[in-house]
């Protein structure tokens, strides 16, 4: 499905601030995989997401989707295969446009944008049904501007928009981190059910250790731009947060530091 081979990325190369963001990353996602990614500050989690989605181009190595190389495709060229939800609830939607207009843009993800109306009666019916799945009553506010929604509602909408066209890969970049605990729980539940129903191949960065263990069928841990631990489904079942932290310290030689990390 998604394959990264020997991917490296440097920031500020050749300057005193040079930083290894990713180093020799090899990662292969099988269809239907739901991988959670954890790691300390500056481990390269976000860079990994940016390299996959095309926001950044790797210095070396290749990114492939379905065995076709997409390393040098720009973000908008590969986004027909990749759905993404950002950490910032403001990032995934257009605030001055209505809910139905936002959904229409998500609907056109894998189509060429022409001069047909974005919101038609047929599409509106589809949007209405899809919004109903969120159980937030958003379908009744389909003509409201997205800027009037709360952070949690916007993130739920972003999630729906990102998965609308059943992308090959779903990237979730700490998408519950900016929400309060109850809303975060809601979005996590929605994520689980949508990913399961649509059988999406998913890569989820999280700072919540408990969530990382509970969700998905595989867990990878990153440190200093490398993948230092790859836990399969079997082992993940009995894993505890304490064990995970222990493993991290043993392999990396330092304590897990993340100002936002939640141990569960």
């Amino acid at each position: 499905m998604l394959e990264l081979s020997n991917v490296s990325k440097l920031f500020y190369p050749g300057t005193p601030d040079e930083k290894i963001a990713l180093f020799g990353i090899n990662l292969k996602l099988n269809p239907g995989d739901f991988i959670t990614v954890i790691g300390s500050n500056g481990a390269g989690k976000s860079t990994l997401m940016n390299v996959i989605s095309g926001v950044m181009t790797p210095d070396t190595g290749h990114v492939k989707i379905n065995n076709s190389a997409i390393t040098h495709l720009q973000e908008h060229q590969r986004s027909r295969w990749i759905g993404r939800v950002f950490q910032d609830p403001m990032a995934g939607t257009a605030p001055h446009m209505t809910i139905e207009e936002n959904l229409a843009m998500a609907y056109s993800r894998d189509k060429s944008r022409g001069l047909a109306f974005g919101v038609t009666a047929r599409r509106r019916k589809l949007f209405y049904e899809q919004l109903g799945r969120l159980n937030l009553g958003l379908e009744k506010r389909i003509r409201a501007k997205v800027g009037q929604l709360s952070g949690g509602e916007r993130q739920a909408l972003s999630l729906l928009m990102a998965t609308f066209t059943k992308p090959q890969i779903l990237l979730l970049d700490e998408h519950t981190a900016a929400l309060d605990p109850s809303r975060a729980e809601l979005i996590t539940r929605l994520t689980e059910s949508i990913v399961r129903e649509m059988k999406l191949t998913t890569l989820m960065v999280t700072h919540n250790m408990e969530q990382a263990i509970r969700l998905g069928n595989r867990l990878i841990m990153m440190d200093k731009g490398r993948i230092i631990l790859d836990v399969n489904e079997e082992r993940k079942k009995d894993l505890t947060v304490a064990q995970l932290l222990g493993e991290f310290e043993q392999i990396s030689g330092h304590k897990m530091t993340d100002d936002r990390v939640v141990f569960g």
Partner: protein, 310 residues
């Protein structure tokens, strides 16, 4: 008095396409495009040259529109592919257009005295104004419709949240160029209309257009609101008419001179830009005060269940 009002409305309608153009860049794309000063004159120059060479009114207007789209595309290219700052790309293009406009006309101004302006045969004058208004509204509705298409939605999202629309597969470089082209097309069409109506085109006819366009958009929004695309474009058209009426009235004030017009326009824009943000800040402050007073009152009524440690 009534005559000057009719004249003001007529001018307002002709300039309203320029206001719509400025609305597209300034409000939708959030891109302050200074090409306008140049492309307005480009439209006038192209129309004047074609009309004085015997081409029909329609061909002259369509050519003016197309010339504007080309100028806009150049600004868009400078900004997106050349990675030049948006303001600077517009200024560069504006300066370049000054020379290009001189080349198009071959001289600093072209007289069109023997060309009959559009709709000039229609009388009385209010019928003529209605016909003109209908034509302008047709263009406004076409623009509204375009902004609701898949392409139009991507264009609007480019100004609203470029990161989001890129993640949904739109090339924001292209949508920006499309928007800037369309905008300058409308501006140049407006320049062509003004040239045929006033029977001459002048190399300096575009000076200050961007500020007049901004003033129209802002006045329109302040009076008529801009909740939806339909209202926002209507507000730009009506704002342009209101602006011309205000100007006509200002010119009747004895101690004001015609040359003070640009200063007045600049003042209108400054006030319109400063006032809303100052008002918002004040509102927010008083709201915060009110809410914290409320919360304090509630807290004092119900003692906190967990008495804090002393």
């Amino acid at each position: 008095m009534l005559d000057s009002m009719y004249g003001a409305v007529e001018l307002g309608l002709l300039y309203s396409l320029m206001a719509l153009g400025v609305f597209i860049t300034f409000r939708i794309l959030d891109f302050p495009d200074l090409t306008v000063d140049g492309s307005f004159a480009t439209g006038g120059a192209v129309a004047a040259v074609l009309l004085s060479n015997g081409y029909s009114m329609w061909i002259a207007m369509i050519a003016a529109f197309l010339a504007g789209t080309v100028a806009g595309a150049c600004t868009g290219l400078l900004h997106t592919k050349g990675k030049i700052n948006g303001l600077l790309s517009g200024i560069l293009m504006m300066i370049a257009l000054h020379s290009i406009n001189l080349r198009i006309m071959g001289k600093p101004n072209t007289s069109l005295l023997d060309i009959e302006p559009m709709f000039s045969s229609i009388s009385p004058i209010w019928v003529k104004l209605i016909v003109m208004a209908v034509c302008i509204l047709v263009i406004k509705f076409l623009l509204d419709a375009f902004l609701r298409t898949d392409m139009g939605l991507a264009l609007r999202a480019t100004g609203d949240n470029p990161r989001m629309i890129r993640s949904f597969g739109a090339n924001t470089d292209n949508t920006k160029m499309l928007g800037i082209s369309l905008s300058n097309g409308l501006v140049a069409l407006s320049g062509g209309l003004i040239a045929q109506q006033s029977s001459y085109a002048d190399i300096s006819m575009g000076i200050g257009m961007i500020v007049i366009g901004l003033a129209s958009v802002i006045i329109g929004e302040a009076i008529f609101g801009a909740r939806t695309v339909f209202w926002a474009t209507l507000a730009a058209v009506l704002g342009s008419i209101v602006y011309r009426i205000v100007v006509a009235l200002a010119l009747r004030v004895e101690w004001l001179e015609a040359s003070d017009l640009k200063l007045i326009t600049a003042l209108i824009v400054i006030v319109a830009l400063v006032l809303p943000s100052a008002r918002r800040a004040m509102k927010q402050k008083s709201m915060a005060k009110k809410r914290s007073a409320q919360l304090t009152a509630e807290a004092s009524k119900t003692p906190t269940p967990t008495g804090g440690a002393r």
